[in-house]
Amino acid sequence: MTSVAAESGLIVAGVLFVLGLVGIMVRRNILFVLMSLEIMMNAAGLAFVIAGARWMRSDGQVTFIFVLSAAAAEVSVGLALFLRFFRHSRTLNSDEANTLRG
């Protein structure tokens, strides 16, 4: 048992996740939406690690590594989509992306 209570850690993870969610819903700039996605994935990984530390098992950290690889793949594809979208429409506003015709 670490000296930090698991509850406070989970509260921090929840606050970070909600901040990322608010960022996704409030911002229209696609780059900020991608950043908020990163924040949310990071908060989810933090919750895994806290749970792993609570039971002193390494499974939480292993899951964090998986979350890390998923985030890396997600951000590479997301940024490629973002480049494509920006070249196509010359704007950063995600509301402009309401048609899928190339």
Binding site: T2, S3, V49
Partner: protein, 174 residues
């Protein structure tokens, strides 16, 4: 130990709040790096030195560099009135102040004055044994996911090739 944890958490929350309220992408990226560093400190306090290093190297290093590359590749069509506009004092004082807090915590822990760190940190060896033991299938799936990410990003970001002559232009799908 608790105090260090709460300070790092406060830094993480404040810098994340700044990320989602900035107007300029580069300023937000600065705060995002600080947020990831703060979360790395939290990981270290919780007893995961290995993933704290991974957080710094991969999140704050690689993924943020990817974002910065994309911001550099695009010019956002904004005229730059002054050459040194990004050097304005108040742009970097906020992130540096937050990073300074983290650095003080780091120095405090390194100096050995903190009470025994995480009572029993999970060593990297245990993580590795678990990763390549019961979770081997997950590792292979992650490898396939990363390969798919590479191929997908390459395919999406390639510009359409200009034909050398209109004779070679077969008129692909418009």
């Amino acid at each position: 130990m608790n105090l260090l944890f709460y300070m790092a958490s406060a830094v993480a929350v404040v810098s994340t709040l700044m990320v989602i309220t900035r107007t300029h992408a580069v300023h937000a990226l600065l705060y995002l790096v600080v947020s990831f560093l703060a979360i790395a400190v939290i990981f270290f306090i919780l007893g995961g030195p290995f993933i704290a290093a991974l957080e710094v190297i991969i999140y704050a290093g690689a993924i943020m560099v990817l974002f910065v590359f994309v911001v550099m590749m695009l010019d956002f069509g904004r005229p730059q009135p002054k050459r040194n506009r990004w050097m304005i004092l108040r742009v970097w004082t906020g992130p540096s102040f937050l990073a300074l807090i983290l650095f003080v915590e780091f120095a405090f822990v390194i100096s050995g004055r903190a009470r025994p760190l995480p009572t029993n940190p999970i060593p990297p060896k245990e993580v590795g044994v678990s990763l390549f033991g019961p979770y081997l299938l997950g590792v292979e799936l992650a490898a396939m996911l990363l390969l798919t990410g590479i191929v997908g990003a390459l395919h999406l970001a390639l510009r359409k090739r200009q034909p050398a002559h209109r004779f070679f232009d077969k008129g692909g799908p418009k």
